[in-house]
Symmetry: C2
């Protein structure tokens, strides 16, 4: 990525850009690196991976956690203009969970190294304030997921997942395996297949090899409300 374009992204996408000093801007510019990742590639893989703040310039990333047994739960997704600081979590002494970040589409990011972000965070009130805002937003996302998992029955969670996935992909024909859905929702494939078959028998979806088609969105949405 040309320097000129990198600077454009930084100045447009970093919400605190207009509130930091010229020196702080130069520090970010000089240390930030543009990177691209192919669909499926891992940007961050758990323990000891603490690269820095990620700014998404294109594509789509998935942030998730993984159990010892390899079970996954998606925490949230990042789209263009989104920023991730959990990828710099080692700078926050109290964060001790490991996150994974994977490209769900071909994606571009700009990376600001942890040491630089940390320095800004400790010296600039606008940056510290932004960190607070972003952290509380992610915290809230995760609380929502936890409430879903703990308090919501699986039919609602699956219906919600299908509707969300269809809006993210902008199609009613979802190309996703039962296994992948199970990983997203932290359950077993059999549980997903059983519920999808029930949805099919209710006329809400139709199932085919490697795909799910939403037939009755209204009925699916009713499940959630």
């Amino acid at each position: 990525m040309p320097e000129q374009q990198k600077l454009k992204f930084l100045s447009e996408y970093l919400p605190f850009w207009s509130q930091i000093t010229e020196d702080q801007k130069r520090l970010i510019e000089n240390s930030a690196v543009a990177r691209s990742f192919g669909k499926g590639e891992l940007l961050l893989s758990g323990p000891d991976d603490c690269v820095g703040m990620l700014l998404v310039t294109s594509g789509q990333l998935r942030v998730y956690i993984v159990s010892d047994g390899g079970k996954e739960i998606t925490l949230y997704r990042l789209f263009e203009r989104d920023i991730c600081i959990l990828s710099a979590s080692c700078m926050m002494k109290n964060i001790n969970f490991d996150i994974y970040v994977q490209a769900e589409k071909d994606s571009g990011i700009i990376l600001v190294p942890t040491s630089v972000y940390n320095r800004l965070n400790k010296t600039s009130l606008p940056v510290s304030d932004y960190t607070n805002e972003l952290m509380s937003s992610r915290f809230s996302d995760v609380m929502w997921i936890m409430e879903q998992v703990l308090f919501t029955s699986f039919d609602k969670r699956l219906a919600h997942f299908l509707i969300e996935q269809s809006s993210v992909d902008a199609t009613d024909n979802l190309e996703i395996t039962h296994d992948a859905i199970a990983r997203h929702l932290g359950t077993a494939r059999e549980v997903v297949t059983r519920m999808l078959k029930y949805f099919q028998s209710e006329g809400m979806v139709s199932l085919s090899r490697g795909g799910i088609t939403i037939l009755d969105r209204t009925k699916l949405e009713k499940l959630i409300s």
Copy 2:
């Protein structure tokens, strides 16, 4: 609580006290209120309850969430010197989950109103930095619980709960009902009773009316590791 004592608590327990200005200190002093709550009393009950920052001066508080159906999950506990800012969550625009806080013992707190804490947070880097630290610490606690719930089998969670409870109460004789444990762990009473009976058959605990006695701590701990 006499003014003198309130000031002593504030200056000793607020980690950023030495780093804020005299004006900011006075602002806190003049707005902070000491309160006491009896065992079982609710300090904060969900939606629209946003009183401010809580500083625990004595006793023990439980912070939890509640589902529409009344199911509860304990997020964490607060002891003397602990601080809670989720009780001022309305100042953080991205937080949109509701928390409940209940006194588990007779407890004393000092309350700094939301408007005051918010003003400090927006004008003082040490306060903003502390908010970050505390938020990431609570975030981490909640992630731990989520991982427990999602990834850990129920025998381990129950064993962990019994050991923790015994260390909090400093006794092997726990006076707690199966129903209360179920509420703490977000499950049904029957599930708790069944697992406790299994623990009893394995000689790890003995059950009596209204109580559980830990007989073999080593064996319980082995379950967790």
